[in-house]
């Protein structure tokens, strides 16, 4: 009798455990999956609307021309160019080829980039070409290049646009962003912002 009562009690509390498990799951699906993200969105839109909507950049006519965080492809050689992107800066997706360091395709792609670079920039010795400019970024959307990568493009752009090299160099240094808080990350140049400024200089 005792044993049966014990069993019964066990089963009943087992039942209540399942019931609690079910209720706790449903409640936390609502709290974590619906309440939390909606409250976050509300607060973000209220406090930081510009950032929350993708840090969009406008040209001087007020047209949205992209996000300052998302790189763009610049085919025109008069513009500063960004890094290699296997997805050609198509920002509806992201990623890269994930080439291993030993992958022959990666080596072939890099050699091709170097050949193209030498054709477009005959005045710059090869040993000044920074590695960042001819490698694929992780996201395929890297909006930045290193300051050095911008400076080595100056002779080409100067020749094609007629803007004196010194002026372009000072433009690059004006658009060189420091490390965050002066410490974290690397120095970088936002290609889209730089080209926007170049555009204004050229009066395009």
């Amino acid at each position: 009798m005792n044993a049966i009562a014990h069993d019964e009690q066990n089963r009943r509390s087992g039942g209540s455990m399942l019931w609690i498990a079910l209720r706790v799951s449903i409640l936390f699906i609502v709290l974590c999956g619906i309440v939390y993200p909606l409250v976050s969105t509300g607060l973000a839109q209220l406090l930081f609307p510009h950032q929350a909507n993708g840090s969009l950049l406008k040209d001087k006519e007020g047209r949205v021309i992209g996000s300052e965080l998302i790189g763009q492809s610049f085919a025109d050689p008069r513009y500063f160019q960004g890094r290699v992107s296997s997805i050609d800066y198509k920002a509806e997706a992201s990623g890269s080829n994930n080439y291993a360091p030993s992958n022959p395709d990666m080596l072939a792609r890099t050699k091709e980039s170097i050949a193209q670079w030498q054709k477009d920039n005959p005045d710059v010795p090869l040993d000044r070409l920074p590695i960042a400019l001819i490698t694929n970024s992780g996201s395929g959307l890297d909006p930045h290049i290193t300051p050095q990568s911008a400076l080595v493009q100056v002779p080409r752009i100067s020749k094609l646009t007629g803007v004196p090299a010194a002026e372009l160099e000072s433009l690059v240094s004006a658009y060189t962003e420091n490390r965050d808080l002066g410490i974290f990350g690397d120095k970088r140049v936002n290609v889209l912002k730089l080209n926007l400024a170049l555009n204004e200089k050229l009066g395009l």
């Binding site: 974590c32 939390y36 969105t41 021309i65 509806e92 997706a93 360091p101 590695i131 992780g138 890297d142």
Partner: protein
């Protein structure tokens, strides 16, 4: 400057880990304290809603059953939501339903805190799925891991038969740790330019006159819990390398500290439970020592670059930049990689497939050891398991019954620990071998040569360690990979959790052995050293052959 920024981040971590550990102790100690006044009001209605009337302690079996049933319900609901996402609200980009094996893989991946992703967020998930499935499981799986770790620590440190109440732990992990921190980090990230919106993909005309579609969404709210919960699944395919997920050096540091702080705090919480803060320091120092070794290898390998590219006559002084972002450079990339696989988060801010061979060995090695800080609770529990093993080995050497925290370690515990320790290499190496034997597995390798071995090995190691990062070149969205990695993630999580809860349950029932002059001390530098030795010994014995075949061989071919 590289060195300085790394040292500062580690310095901040060391400063916050201890107070945070003490805070977590207060949350779970079940003694009245100040955190009750702050959060008690929010918990009362939650307990009422879930029908938890008295929060009685549970034995290990009941505790295990509670968390398994809860996880099962979460998985079942999530499965339905993903299969039906096209018809659910908040789908402005018109995303279709997910294919069944991919759904299976995804729900296991997120409930096990792995966050291996065989889909790409931009094209695979609606905003509703990102919220109600992905973010939800990021919270609940982290809270589950945390609760189990706390139960384990209670078992090995306290007298009594119970390990605590799972539902109470689960609720408190949310209300007192994850919710407040997640809201805080979300807002900080938005302020630093991470988007948070329900608007659909943006269409713009670029400066060059081309059309560009920019995927966007509620990114920041996912980003914060992704790191705090050591989850790691990205909103976008490129994960934290995507400029919207991680726009600058400062967000990178916030994300690193978010995923690192809680795992690093847990040893100190354990020290408080064990009423011996020195024990906390032993575990923390062992973890930190291993971490620093890995970090040095990672940074030097990436900084010295890829010899194949360095030979092309360009200016390669910056290091290996393939697959990395300019804003992070080598320092913030190497640090992120080392932390993400230490804390078993699996978020990436650079592509691990593109790492130099020795640089890629670092994440692989950390996931194989699975004790260098470790994900939500798991790392601490694994490290304690190794501590018991170290005590056992030392006991054998001097011919004394091994004791840990005043309890005898006997055959029953050692058998369970052996299961937990051996399950890990088994579920990595066996499927790796199977994948190589079949065309289904081999066909997905995208990088030729020895790197192909690393790709497959990495996928299963990451699944078993519940890390979730990938050598993403692997074409892994096929039924073969979805199902095999799904199983590996499942066993990787639940076998060790259950075995270790059983260890805790068995230790909790034991008589305490009084400490004497002959007791082997487990709270000093010697023991830290022995612990590191045990971890490395087991790791090397199991994994060295396959490491030689993968990363080491690749290194020798391009050197």
């Amino acid at each position: 400057m590289d060195l300085l920024q790394i040292v500062i981040v580690i310095g901040i971590l060391v400063l916050i880990a201890r107070p945070l550990g003490h805070y977590v102790y207060h949350v779970f100690s079940n003694e009245s304290n100040r955190t009750d006044r702050l959060f008690g009001w929010a918990e009362k209605p939650i307990y009422a809603l879930i029908g938890l009337k008295h929060r009685a302690g549970m034995g290990w079996k009941r505790y295990a059953l509670s968390f398994i049933v809860t996880n099962f319900v979460l998985v079942a609901v999530s499965y339905v939501l993903l299969r039906a996402q096209s018809g659910l609200p908040l789908n402005p980009n018109g995303i279709g339903n997910m294919e069944p094996t991919l759904v299976l893989n995804t729900v296991i991946s997120f409930i096990t805190n792995t966050n291996l992703q065989h889909y790409s967020g931009e094209t695979g998930l609606s905003y509703f799925s990102q919220m109600a499935v992905i973010m939800m499981m990021m919270f609940t799986s982290a809270a589950t891991g945390f609760s189990v770790a706390v139960a384990f620590v209670r078992g090995i440190t306290s007298k009594g038969k119970t390990l605590g109440n799972f539902f109470e732990d689960f609720v408190k992990a949310h209300t007192r740790i994850f919710f407040p921190l997640a809201i805080l980090v979300t807002l900080a990230l938005v302020a630093l330019q991470v988007p948070q919106t329900l608007d659909p993909t943006l269409s713009v005309t670029t400066l060059g006159g081309a059309a560009q579609q920019i995927a966007i969404g509620p990114v920041a709210s996912l980003e914060s819990i992704k790191h705090l919960g050591t989850n790691g699944g990205g909103f976008f395919g490129a994960n934290s390398a995507h400029p919207f997920e991680n726009p600058n050096g400062l967000t990178n540091v916030i994300e690193i500290l978010s995923m690192w702080a809680l795992p690093a705090a847990l040893p100190f919480m354990y020290g408080r439970f064990a009423k011996s803060r020195k024990h906390g320091w032993v575990i923390f120092s062992a973890m930190m020592t291993l971490f620093l070794v890995f970090l040095v290898v990672s940074y030097t390998a990436e900084k010295s670059g890829n010899p194949a590219l360095n030979a092309l006559g360009i200016d390669a002084s910056q290091g290996s930049m393939e697959g990395k972002e300019v804003r992070f450079g080598i320092a913030q990339s190497a640090l992120f990689t080392t932390v993400t696989t230490a804390a078993t988060t699996g978020t990436v801010n650079n592509m691990h497939d593109t790492l130099t061979p020795l640089g890629g060995l670092v994440p692989l090695g950390e996931m194989m050891l699975n004790v260098v800080f470790g994900g939500k609770g798991v790392g601490l529990v694994n490290m304690l398991m190794y501590a018991m093993l170290a005590v056992f080995i030392c006991g054998l050497m001097v011919g004394r019954t091994p004791e840990f925290l005043g309890r005898k370690i006997e055959p029953r515990e050692m058998k369970l620990i052996a299961i937990a320790i051996l399950a890990h290499p088994f579920i990595i190496l066996a499927p790796t071998a199977i994948a190589f034997l079949t065309e289904l597995g081999k066909g997905s390798i995208t990088n030729p040569g020895f790197h192909g071995i690393s790709q497959v090995l990495y996928e299963y190691t990451s699944s078993a360690a519940n890390n979730g990062s990938g050598f993403e070149g692997l074409a892994d969205n096929t039924p073969f990979w979805n199902i095999t990695t799904g199983l590996v993630m499942f066993f990787g999580r639940y076998i060790s959790m259950i075995a270790l809860l059983a260890v805790a349950g068995s230790l909790a029932r034991k008589q305490w052995v009084p400490e004497t002059i002959g007791t082997f001390r487990t709270d000093n530098a010697l023991f830290t050293f022995l612990l590191i030795g045990t971890v490395l010994l087991i790791g090397a014995l199991t994994f060295l052959p396959v490491i030689v075949l993968g990363p080491v061989a690749e290194h020798l071919t391009i050197r």
